[in-house]
């Protein structure tokens, strides 16, 4: 998922289809909204101002792909399911659901779900919305999301071979919605929390076309409704009085401010104009920890930072060189001295925070840095590099203070330990993407954030056909392990295969994992209901409230 240009961003991948072991059969939870603890004194003014990184590209859920968009749309539109503060899937518009075989899913919608103009939210709305996602005329950049679920005919419709009406969705009655998949996907319900599968109001979209998201036209079914939108300045929303759970909404107004510059964002927080920030500048972290410890919120994040090697090109076609370069990175320096917000060193691709799996530390991760350095020197010498024939390569990164800092630091480690001569090469985002696509690099910075909370969102990244990572690796052995993972029938077997995949990566070293991200924010202590444990950072404004000082 596109977080911003600095971090990374990925998307749901093929392995999404494979299941997690649990399937949802006729599940039901109690609704969750702003549950204000007893004895909390609420402030008179219930207005929340959130920093939101980049300006949103669109508020049409079928035209977006980034994180800032998801944050805003999460408040404006409600899908079949939501997440609670800890990241568990809970009912949204669908009150309950059932599936006999993980291929056919029936969702029972709540009777009282309404659009912000008073119309009821019906199964037809979902049929229309799902068809709209795959309709070539919509040109949704995330249309492949439905293709990945293996929804019947989705792929053919996107390719223009079939009509959108053939999509495997059906309104059994006004409040019963059914989906058909071609392959079993126990994971499917969890996927229905995604931005791409939010419903849109048919009459409004058809009447206004591309302009339906303008505040004067907007009709949504979320807890809030769009009130004002000035590009590059602010998005304002007020409670949707027709929302089924509106009684529990505490806030009277939510404002999203697009502020790209972290220092500018911090300044606005410190001057009291923002209730919480989108991120925190690395250089300022220590000072903030000292001066404003009560405002710092740090939580683990489902992301890994790594360098990838172009294994098709010299010098990284030699596994010894890849290993030597990876070993010589002192990850503890990176996480403790250079970052120091609680990031953890990474020796594997899948971060430890992932649900239901704890990656094993590979052999080189258990060594001390001195041992690693010694091994690295030996490997490099074996590969034929020495003082008279030093290894030279260039390291590509996209322009950003943090990437620059790490690249300089790590290049300096390589130089000191191995005598390697590294040329740093920065490019602005789009040029960087093009260079990587063309394979015009030797080593490059990269990062990955999980789309869903399961290891395959990471391991499938290095699969040979994956255009972000695996394309520069392309190992038949690894692809075989991925395939077996998809076909695995038991959770136990699948977990073993994830271990095997990680072991294969440690053996071939197509990437050098560096650290595991954290999500750091400044959150004003008067904000209640901030979901500090949601690993996917799904924050619902409807769960938040302002505490009286």
């Amino acid at each position: 998922m596109n977080k911003n240009k600095n971090k990374n961003k990925n998307k749901i991948t093929k392995a999404l289809i494979l299941g997690l072991g649990l399937s949802f059969a006729t599940t039901s939870f109690t609704a969750f909204a702003a549950n204000v603890p007893e004895g909390t004194k609420l402030a008179a003014k219930q207005e929340l101002v959130r920093g939101n990184g980049n300006e949103v590209a669109s508020l049409d859920p079928h035209k977006t792909e980034g994180v800032p968009e998801s944050h805003v749309i999460r408040d404006l539109l409600e899908g079949l399911v939501n997440q609670d503060a800890d990241g568990n899937t809970i009912p949204g518009v669908a009150e309950r659901w059932e599936t006999p075989d993980n291929k056919t899913f029936t969702f029972y919608l709540r009777q009282d779900a309404k659009w912000s103009n008073g119309d009821p939210v019906t199964a037809d709305d979902f049929v229309y919305s799902f068809q709209r996602v795959v309709d070539p005329a919509t040109a949704s950049p995330y249309s492949w999301f439905l293709e990945m679920t293996s929804m019947t005919n989705a792929a053919d419709i996107i390719a223009g071979k079939k009509d959108k009406s053939t999509l495997g969705v059906k309104a059994i009655d006004t409040h019963t919605f059914q989906v058909h998949l071609e392959h079993a996907a126990p994971y499917f319900v969890m996927m229905m929390g995604h931005t791409t599968v939010k419903p849109v109001h048919k009459a409004t979209v058809e009447k206004f076309g591309d302009k339906w998201t303008k505040p004067e036209n907007f009709v949504g079914n979320g807890a809030f409704v769009l009130n004002n939108w000035v590009v590059n300045e602010r998005i304002e929303m007020v409670p949707n009085k027709f929302y089924w759970d509106n009684a529990k909404t505490v806030l009277t107004k939510v404002t999203f401010l697009p502020i790209e510059n972290q220092v500018a964002e911090m300044n606005r927080f410190l001057s009291g104009e923002l209730d919480f920030t989108y991120e925190v500048s690395n250089e300022h972290f220590r000072r903030l920890k000292k001066d404003h410890p009560e405002s710092l919120q740090i939580k683990g994040s489902l992301c890994t930072y790594y360098y990838n090697f172009n294994t098709h090109k010299k010098p990284f076609d030699d596994v010894r060189v890849r290993k030597a370069i990876s070993y010589a990175i002192d990850r503890n320096i990176v996480t403790d001295a250079l970052l120091g917000q609680g990031q953890k060193p990474a020796y594997f691709l899948t971060p430890e925070i992932i649900a239901g799996f704890s990656p094993e530390l590979p052999a080189y991760g258990k060594m001390t840095q001195n041992e690693r350095n010694t091994t690295a020197k030996k490997l490099l010498a074996e590969a034929g590099y020495n003082k008279s024939n030093p290894l030279k390569f260039s390291l590509l990164y996209n322009t950003s203070e943090n990437h620059k800092k790490l690249a300089v630091a790590i290049a300096s480690m390589w130089k000191k330990t191995l005598g390697v001569e590294v040329t740093l090469e920065n490019q602005e985002w789009k040029t960087y993407l093009e260079t990587k696509k063309q394979g015009n690099f030797e080593a490059s910075r990269a990062g990955w954030c999980g789309d869903y909370n399961e290891p395959s969102t990471f391991t499938s990244l290095m699969e040979g056909s994956n255009t972000t990572g695996g394309i520069h690796y392309q190992s038949a052995a690894y692809d075989e392990l991925i395939k077996r993972g998809i076909e695995a029938t038991s959770a136990e077997e699948r977990t073993q295969l994830y271990y095997a995949q990680e072991a294969q990566l440690a053996k071939d070293m197509p990437i050098a994992p560096i650290y595991q991200y954290v999500q750091t924010r400044l959150v004003n202590p008067h904000v209640g209901g901030y979901a500090a444990n949601n690993a996917e950072d799904k924050l619902y404004s409807k769960d938040m409230y302002i505490i009286a000082e």
Binding site: N2, N8, K9, N10, K11, E55, A57, S58, L59, D60, K63, E65, P136, A137, T138, A139, S140, P141, S143, W144, E147, I158, A159, G160, D210, K211, T213, K214, V230, V231, N232, E233, R234, L257, P258, I259, E260, N261, V263, A264, N267, R268, L270, S271, E273, E428, W429, K430, T431, L433, E434, T435, K437, N466, T467, T468
Partner: protein
Amino acid sequence: MFKFILKRVIEAIPTLLILITISFFLMRFAPGSPFSSERTLPPQVMENINAKYGLDKPVMEQYTTYLSNVLQGDLGPSFKYKDFTVNELVATALPVSAKIGAVAFVFAVFFGVGIGTIAALRQNTWLDYSVMSTAMIGIVMPSFVLAPVLIYLFSITLGWFPAGGWLDGSAKYMVLPVLGMSMMYVATFARITRGSMIETLNSNFIRTARAKGLSFSYIVLHHALKPAMLPVVSYMGPAFVGIITGSVVIETIFGLPGIGKLFVNAAFNRDYSLVMGITILIGLLFILFNAIVDILLAYVDPKIRF
């Protein structure tokens, strides 16, 4: 006068045409596309998107389509901000930049010319040195340094002005951005005015006037100021366009929805139509203000004819 304007309007057409052509193809030569992202989209999806925005056609055809749309005043849909057309985006951003820009410009000219004149009249005295040294700080201190300092002082410490935002564009949101933006121009105008004024004061006709016993202040106001303004006026053209189209640094730091930020983001996002739209706008502004400057030049020195 009418003939002058007519000529300029006629000349503007080929000028803009060349500008559009060069910019259009320059942009297409740059690597990356508006829809490229970390994970390459499946070919069918990419095709759908390209078809929707007309990028599937040959470049020459795209170019001619674009030209004919522009002639009808349609700058097309934005490739990045999919809910808006370029016309809409420019229409919201331009007034913000223009408002801040106009105030900053007047501020810069007024103080710049004032400081420069005083420094010139007291050439090589402590007043000259101190005033001009202060002005130099405006030149040396880039806005990305100055703006955070202003915010730290006036927003975080004193709490007088907001640290950013625009809202309704009321005065309190404008003070800091205007200061941050105009300091460099104040300094530049001051330097140019001072140099030009000294030169003018040394010229023969001023000496004659002084010999005639006219009071010094009368001479400065009635004889020297106008000719000394010549280079100042010449510089006003580029300065005005520079100020009015906004400063990306100031707009980013203060969170203002202006043209400068819109333009730079559009370029980074390869939002072709938005980049083109703003390029045309900037071109138009240059043509317009250079024409105004030419009229002003003729006013400052009546002998100048075009």
